[in-house]
């Protein structure tokens, strides 16, 4: 029992961090935001070449042969960088949808009752059932009955699909897909929660009022301390759930990571004062994405029910 990252895992994380900093650093992210750019297929393919989607496919099938713990580290970095796109659904579909592993096919998820993200840029739809098999549908057919939603998150275009097309190809084990989707989304939330903590601490150390850095004021200090506590608790939960793949533990990880991402973004906004309320600051982008992710794959309500059922 040594619940720490291995050297290989550290190297993997550092590699993705570097890749994202180079290809989707802050300047690029803000430029895409201003341009209202859609999904960047070139970047998508680069991610694929780095193993992002094929990570958990067996080597015999052209994958990297790694597991959920490594996947969680990648998605944590993606969450920290605000990397847009249906990353989770595409990784889940790698191996099942032709071209997903290679970054040629973009796969998004359709959760009944929720708007579909990135439908315009997607090739296929993954429909995770609560127990039964997931179903793959042609995204083009789904678009025929889709109405665009003015999305809260400028990086996540949303579509309301009123009349989903008939069942496509079946993928086995929809229940597993659902929990893994929740876990990978929790990892993105964790990355965002840790990033907004860093942003708040950085600002609190630099911004001066009353002749001192605002970070020397206890009211601000305590906000930041609670942010770290939330992020670290979520980290323990997410990493452990990745190791055990236990559905109850995954529900706990999603619940705590959602809470950490949303509340940390709000506290980060508060620490930034008026600056935090501007479009210019990245804080709102984290908050908006965190709100969306909290509704994806497993809501707080669903997670709490899973966790309650586990008792006694």
């Amino acid at each position: 029992m040594d619940f720490q990252l291995s050297d290989d895992q550290r190297a993997l994380r550092a590699g993705v961090r570097e890749l994202l900093a180079g290809r989707f650093g802050r300047d690029r992210m803000r430029a895409d935001l201003d341009a209202g750019a859609g999904l960047d297929r070139t970047l998508w393919r680069e991610l694929a070449r780095a193993g992002f989607f094929a990570l958990r496919l067996p080597e015999a099938e052209g994958g990297v042969g790694l597991g959920l713990p490594e996947a969680v580290l990648l998605f944590e970095e993606a969450g920290a960088a605000l990397l847009p796109g249906p990353l989770v659904a595409t990784q889940l579909a790698a191996g099942a949808v032709k071209g997903a592993a290679e970054g040629e096919a973009v796969v998004t998820a359709w959760e009944p009752g929720r708007p579909v993200a990135h439908l315009d840029g997607a090739d296929a739809l993954l429909v995770p059932g609560s127990e039964g098999a997931a179903v793959l549908r042609d995204a083009g057919r789904a678009r025929e009955s889709a109405v665009p939603v003015r999305s809260l998150d400028p990086f996540t275009p949303l579509w309301r699909v009123t009349n989903p097309p008939e069942v496509g190809e079946q993928v086995s084990d929809g229940g597993r897909l659902r929990t893994e989707g929740a876990l990978l989304t929790a990892a993105e939330q964790l990355g965002s929660a840790a990033r907004t903590t860093d942003m708040a601490v950085q600002h609190a150390g630099a911004r001066e009022q009353f002749g001192s850095p605002i970070g020397s004021f206890q009211a601000v200090k305590h906000l930041c301390a609670e942010m770290l506590v939330r992020a670290e608790l979520a980290r323990s939960a997410v990493y452990a759930a990745a190791v055990t793949a236990d559905p109850v533990e995954i529900a706990g990880a999603k619940l705590l990571a959602d809470e950490a991402a949303v509340r940390n973004a709000r506290d980060c906004l508060q620490v930034h004062g008026g600056m935090g309320f501007t479009w210019e600051s990245d804080v709102h982008l984290h908050l908006k994405r965190a709100w969306l992710r909290a509704g994806w794959w497993m809501t707080a309500e669903a997670a709490e029910e899973v966790l309650a059922t586990d008792l006694c």
Partner: protein, 383 residues
């Protein structure tokens, strides 16, 4: 990220489980909270049983009489004893969880030989004389004075909130040995025998009605210089060692106990129909996530600290969330109890009261937040 245990560790778990299953059924219930002599006898007898079975001081270093167990074995021990409903450390808390480890880390060979075996055997119990009426959160403001007289210190002053003082044999005592030095530089860490002339203990009643802590008056108490742990005036550094043990792993076993309580609450709610209330059910579900994650955070902290189980400032992160979660647990318990939440004979009612101390004792939440912000996040020191 490895959460699996080695075959040796699993074998250790199996042996411990078998031993617990054999000894626990014949154990009496722990005496009432007001019966401190009874509790002392009970807690030290349990410690003696652990000692005889080879489970005392598992995570202490071997040359301090411990077993030099791996952090994983220590965690297994905490997990299994709590899961089996074994007695808690109780009156042995200070000796086993922070005074003892401090002496093991900072004491001389003679000091270790004198003080550590009796702690492990359950022969002697310790209390903690740090806080004073005017020095709580601001511990370095302490005023109790120790003046050198030959090979003794003559100690005068007073201490407060001293848990288990009534039944303790020894006290880890912080005194000011150099009143002229800057506050943090004139402090020393002494081991004081509680029956030395000049020591008066006056029990204080807690809001739970019990007398688990006390005021201590020290009137020219003679403490041998040989009882000082660490150099003279270097007591602040030694104290930081003590506090890192206290905040690091001292509460870890309780997390498992909280999960058992949560199961019991769910069972009670199911039995009386309250489980149909989705708000209550989801509240208990959320607490399940909290305590599971706190256990994982412990594993993470211990892994990071490596051998020895000293967690350092990561312990403050744990303590902040744990003390909060524990209070929420007993608020949920009150809801499950309904009208019975006014009945002091229900164990959960007393636990609800005692949970109120968790955000105060061992450093308040405000102080922990300062520590996290300044030492972990590197924010500037303030006033």
């Amino acid at each position: 990220m490895d959460l699996s245990y080695t075959p040796q560790e699993e074998e250790f778990r199996a042996r411990l489980r078998a031993w617990l299953a054999a000894v626990l059924p014949s154990l009496a219930a722990r005496p009432h909270p007001d019966d401190w002599p009874g509790r002392r006898a009970y807690d030290t007898a349990w410690q003696r049983m652990l000692y005889d079975a080879g489970y005392a001081g598992l995570h202490w270093p071997v040359d301090a009489g411990g077993r030099g167990a791996t952090p994983a074995q220590h965690l297994i021990f905490l997990e299994e004893t709590e899961r089996a409903g074994a007695p808690y450390v109780g009156a042995n808390f200070v000796g086993l969880l922070h005074a003892g480890p401090t002496i093991a880390a900072e004491g001389t060979a003679e000091q270790r030989a004198r003080w550590l075996p009796p702690v492990l055997r359950g022969d002697e119990i310790w209390c903690q004389g740090f806080s004073e009426p005017d020095a709580g959160s601001d511990l370095a403001a302490l005023r109790t004075r120790a003046v050198r007289d030959g090979d003794h210190y003559v100690v005068s002053g007073s201490k407060i909130w001293t848990s288990h003082a009534e039944v303790a044999d020894w006290c880890e005592l912080l005194v000011r040995t150099d009143p002229a030095a800057p506050r943090h530089r004139g402090i020393s860490w002494l081991a004081m025998e509680m029956d030395t002339p000049g020591v008066t203990v006056r029990p204080l009643r807690t809001l739970a009605g019990s007398t688990e802590f006390a005021e201590m008056f020290l009137d020219e108490v003679r403490v041998p210089v040989a009882n000082r742990v660490g150099a003279e005036n270097d007591g602040w550094r030694v104290t930081m060692v003590t506090l890192s043990f206290e905040r690091g792993t001292a509460f870890v076993g309780e997390v498992v106990a909280c999960r058992r309580t949560l199961d019991a609450l769910a069972a009670e709610a199911r039995a009386d129909g309250r489980w149909d209330d989705p708000v209550l059910r989801r509240r208990l579900g959320r607490l399940n996530a909290e305590f599971r994650a706190l256990w994982r955070l412990t594993q993470w902290n211990v892994g990071e600290a490596g051998r020895g189980g000293v967690v350092g400032t990561g312990g403050s992160v744990f303590k902040l969330r744990y003390s909060q979660a524990r209070q929420e647990l007993y608020e949920a318990a009150a809801e499950v109890l309904g009208a019975d939440s006014a009945d002091l004979d229900r164990e959960w009612v007393l636990d609800r009261l005692s949970s109120l101390s968790y955000t105060i004792a061992a450093g308040t939440s405000q102080i922990q937040r300062n520590i996290v912000a300044e030492r972990l996040l590197g924010l500037p020191k303030g006033r």
